[in-house]
Symmetry: C2
Subunit: 422 residues, 2 copies
């Protein structure tokens, strides 16, 4: 596969860095490295992968084990064996991935930064590389979740973008990393919609009929784009010697025969889908654990999906599309996967089956680590309560109340019984 | 629960007949009989259930078994034991259900007819009761599926309605009968939208702000209603001495604490959902049998849902709502249930796992009985092919081609790879 014609023939190529190298980060690096190899006219073949350095012994089960269990640098193992033996064992990575222990060195001169690390590290990473990256770089966040506080909801992509003064989109979908690493077919959704900084002067090189995403000039007013949207970030245009950083470009970077990419513009919807589905997965686990069967589980998923749409519309009404929730991989498909066998679902189900609290399951099975769903359920509830809106989200509220022990699973049907006819 | 105020206080009450007494028919009869007991001001308490008479021996496992295995009339067993020992064993039916072996007698004087029987019997049943029912009766079809031929797609509700010269709506959802009979919580969708025969003269008794569904007069032009829709059926208005047959009335008849009803107007969408999901369930079984995991299964369901929406919009564009597919129990929820453990899913999965055809699974496991999904897949494909539209429905087409042996499961990702960006 080669990229669309308008991407080629530029003086410069895009350099790509993946910030993060866990299970999902390594999988995304594999995909990207396969694509930079196939699209050498658009991307530099070699891709940088920032690896948080640690000493790792190659496990005896690995084909790279040579009878020596002395710990070695993880970056050295990846660069010599082309396998992340700790976080993605058994998968051969393309040899054009360069594992780099220096974050600042890894991101230097890259035009595309792909963030794929636990959200707790976002702040620290931004502090380290702020001012060390190209000012016109663009990012994609593969980190699921959103930041919810009583004050508001903010997206990880916004957090990174504001931290680095660059535009950052989001990738999310029904994407269990190990299945994708094994090249089992799946889909994903990438939302990318940078401010149209100068819609009157699209790049003459762009073959796109509506080059909304080709940013070539810095506007006079940096806080309001040509479509009237405001941004905290002063964006710098991508110089015209690079191929345009548009939907075609990101598709060429992420799409594989086993990893189908759907490009959209709704960053908020894509990000919210990946966060709110965890609340619904807890509810699905509750009713499944109660033995209510497939009808009830499907009902929970349907009601949860409707509350996800409502939440998006209510708090991101300007940009959110219902279809992102009801039609995209980042919406309904990710919800289905999470309610099938995801960790939130399994822990909630186990809690009900054993007659213990989810908190106890977290203590016993996760060493006290909190599930994403429980944290999100509490945060969203606190946010809704601060606005007097708990009643409008009966399922989200029920999950919070069941987690806190003030409601029972048996109350769910009554709690969600609000009429939702046309 | 009592019905909304405007339903009460009429000179006459609605009499209800359930036509059919299988697993699902008996379950729906239980629901209805519970509700007629609670809403005696609107409905006659006693409900008629037409039972195809047969001689049945009470099984030794039944609590009604008294050491005698002489076959008895099924209607007698139901009326004395209040249990359909053959089709819904173990569930006590309300004593206000009257099992009636005479179809004509069962439907006599009923204002509400609920059809819940295998679709093969629709024609014969209509022939028997045509002219024997109240001319202003209204029906609800609980029969899943649609009639697809090269000529077109028609709904079972329309078939019954045209056969009896009455208006018939549709009930469908994520409704596994045994779970509902056990009073495990679920949801359903009822679509009811009779022609607004005289929108200028709504029933003064109706408390509804927009009594579109209250039909009080026979219009001059019987083939075009006040909303401009045409109908083959000459409808007769419900006399004003009855409570209006509107959404509130049907909710009062079907809604239970364990069976939540969502009322909509989109009869075509509700009916199509129950038919087309079986094609998608086959595809989900194919990829699951291939071992592709939860990502792939969720992708299939997402793509399938999109093709269901497209099909509805393309062929029932006047009335179909996308939301019926993406937001209702008859759409996304029923699809989820069918792709979790439904028969089409299981048989398709087994075929791929064993390396045999679905046809062979039908022969071996179903005594040659055809799955609904295979029949629908062939019919829909033939319908699309006749219009040159196979390419617009790559998943539906792939399922047909895999069933016919001209494509393989491994081809699915490539076949459905058409870009569906915004």
């Amino acid at each position: 596969m080669t990229g669309p014609a308008h991407l080629g023939g530029h003086a410069k190529k895009h350099k790509v860095t993946i910030v993060g190298s866990g299970n999902w980060g390594s999988t995304i690096s594999k995909i990207i490295a396969e694509n930079t190899r196939l699209n050498k006219d658009v991307f530099e073949e070699q891709v940088q992968m920032w690896v948080y350095e640690e000493d790792v012994a190659i496990p005896a089960s690995s084909k790279h084990f040579k009878g020596d269990d002395t710990p070695q640098k993880l970056t050295s193992i990846i660069n010599s064996c082309h396998e992340n033996v700790k976080y993605l064992p058994g998968i051969t990575l393309p040899s054009n991935i360069v594992a780099n222990p220096s974050l600042v060195d890894a991101v230097r001169d890259s035009t595309i930064l792909v963030f794929n690390l636990p959200h707790q590290f976002i702040g620290k990473v931004c502090d380290q590389i702020r001012g060390q990256i190209l000012p016109f770089a663009r990012g994609i966040s593969c980190i699921k979740g959103v930041n919810v506080s009583d004050d508001g909801v903010s997206l990880f992509s916004e957090w990174i973008g504001d931290g680095l003064d660059i535009y950052v989109g989001a990738l999310s979908g029904a994407n269990i990393a190990n299945e994708i690493a094994a090249e089992k077919w799946s889909e994903t959704t990438i939302a990318y919609d940078p401010p149209a900084m100068d819609s009157r002067a699209p790049s003459p090189r762009s073959g796109s009929p509506q080059p909304l995403f080709t940013v070539t000039e810095v506007p006079d007013s940096v806080h309001r784009d040509a479509r009237g949207r405001t941004s905290k970030t002063k964006l710098t245009g991508v110089p015209p010697e690079y191929p345009p950083l548009d939907h075609d470009c990101f598709r060429a970077l992420f799409h594989r025969p086993y990893f189908h990419v759907q490009m959209v513009s709704d960053v908020a919807g894509v990000s919210l889908g990946g966060a709110l589905k965890n609340i619904v997965a807890l509810a699905a686990g509750f009713v499944d654990g109660r033995g209510w069967g497939d009808n009830a589980k499907a009902a929970i998923m349907r009601i949860g999906l409707m509350e996800m749409v409502r939440f998006g519309k209510e708090f991101f009404g300007e940009t959110v599309q219902s279809a992102t929730f009801t039609e995209s991989s980042a919406g309904v498909a990710d919800l289905i996967t999470s309610c099938s066998g995801g960790r939130n679902f399994r822990c909630a189900k186990k809690a009900v089956e054993k007659g213990i609290t989810v908190d106890q399951v977290e203590q016993e099975d996760l060493n006290g680590q909190k599930l994403q769903g429980t944290t999100t359920a509490y945060e969203v509830n606190s946010f809704l309560k601060a606005r007097g809106l708990e009643k409008d989200y009966p399922l989200f509220t029920a999950v919070n109340d069941i987690l806190r022990g003030t409601r029972k699973v048996d109350d769910i049907p009554e709690l969600v019984a609000a009429v939702d006819d046309e």
